[in-house]
């Protein structure tokens, strides 16, 4: 099986490869978004816990 034959996907390349590309995109964006969401929550929690103390509020 050569590469060109594999990439041609029996004539369905224009349908098969976009599906796989979109799946990779959705998975990648999900991983990035989940990490971003956790990090922003951690930053916000740190602010809540520490800034009032530094500012001298009870």
């Amino acid at each position: 099986m050569n590469l060109a034959h594999f990439l041609a996907m029996g004539g369905y390349a224009v349908y098969v490869w976009p599906c796989y590309a979109l799946a990779a995109l959705v998975i990648g964006l999900n991983i990035a978004a989940a990490r971003r969401s956790l990090r922003s929550a951690q930053r916000a929690a740190r602010r809540r816990l520490e800034i009032p103390r530094e500012a001298g509020t009870p």
Binding site: F6, M9, G10, G11, Y12, Y15, V16, P18, C19, Y20, L22, A23, V26, I27, L29, N30, I31, A33, A34, R35, S37, L38, R39, S40, A41, Q42, A44, A45, R46, R48, L49, E50, P52, R53
Partner: protein, 263 residues
């Protein structure tokens, strides 16, 4: 015993630590199973006798469609648990499900359209399966929109939980739509009673992909839910420790962070 587990799971610090520790144990198997499924699905599985290589879309379409339904059920059940037992961790899990579920529902719809074009001759048809799956996307988006519209997190949790629970009726409709009505969409090949309608060389990569997507969802959910737990906590000592903010120097009151049902 079950109640002890329930209490522990409902405790935000316990959940946070457990989720942190569990994430790599689901993320790495997800990657390995996904790579194996990719090799099997794109390389080793033979072309379909009717659809040729076009059938290989199944290896991303079916797992995405499976997640679209499973994530919704997880979201609705967590929302119900959060509503009934006032468990913040359950609300945090429900809120984490929505963006993941919405994105995989969109992926299932678009890969389905790209599959439908060569096989059915159309990208879209107002068919029971396709229409109910589109409705599922709108349910996820409605849930997220409702949450966005309410600033107060506990209120957003309760209001969106009701929407999630009501919307769960759509899940069996999607699943059985191809059996109840005449549909362009084929009947299930895997999730049905009796023999699957696929040879092992096609079926095994599909099962690997289904497992990989499910574990990926678990990793995404655990990561997001940790953040959502933090957003729902106020002034708890455990967060200082979990976030490496140093020893709690007596500043904020370290009142009990245990939120859960008391017997």
């Amino acid at each position: 015993m079950a109640w002890v587990w329930f209490h522990k799971f409902g405790s935000p610090p316990h959940f946070y630590r457990l989720a942190t520790r569990l994430t790599p144990w689901v993320a790495w198997p997800a990657l390995l199973l996904g790579l194996a499924g990719l090799v099997g699905g794109l390389g080793l599985a033979p072309a379909d006798y009717q659809q040729g290589d076009g059938f290989r879309i199944i290896y991303v379409h079916a797992p995405a469609a499976w997640l679209s339904l499973m994530v919704y059920v997880v979201m609705a059940v967590s929302a119900a648990v959060g509503l009934i037992w006032r468990m913040t961790v359950a609300h945090a899990v429900a809120a984490s499900c929505a963006p993941i579920g919405a994105s995989f529902t969109a992926l299932a719809l678009v890969t389905g359209m790209l599959w439908g074009r060569p096989m059915w001759g159309t990208y879209w048809e107002w068919d029971p399966r396709l229409t109910s799956e589109l409705l599922l996307l709108f349910l996820y988006l409605g849930y997220m929109g409702l949450r966005n519209a309410i600033d107060d997190v506990p209120r957003a949790d309760r209001a969106s939980a009701v929407l999630a629970i009501v919307g769960v009726v759509n899940v069996p409709i999607i699943h059985y739509s191809v059996i109840w009505w005449n549909s362009l969409h084929q009947a299930p090949s895997v999730m049905k009673f009796g023999q699957p309608t696929m040879p092992a060389s096609m079926l095994i990569p599909l099962l690997l992909m289904l497992a990989a997507f499910t574990l990926l969802f678990a990793a995404l959910l655990l990561t997001r839910a940790r953040g959502e737990v933090l957003r729902r906590e106020r002034q708890a000592r455990w967060m200082l420790e979990a976030l490496g903010g140093g020893a709690a120097r007596g500043g904020p009151s370290a009142k009990g962070a245990l939120v859960g049902p008391s017997p």
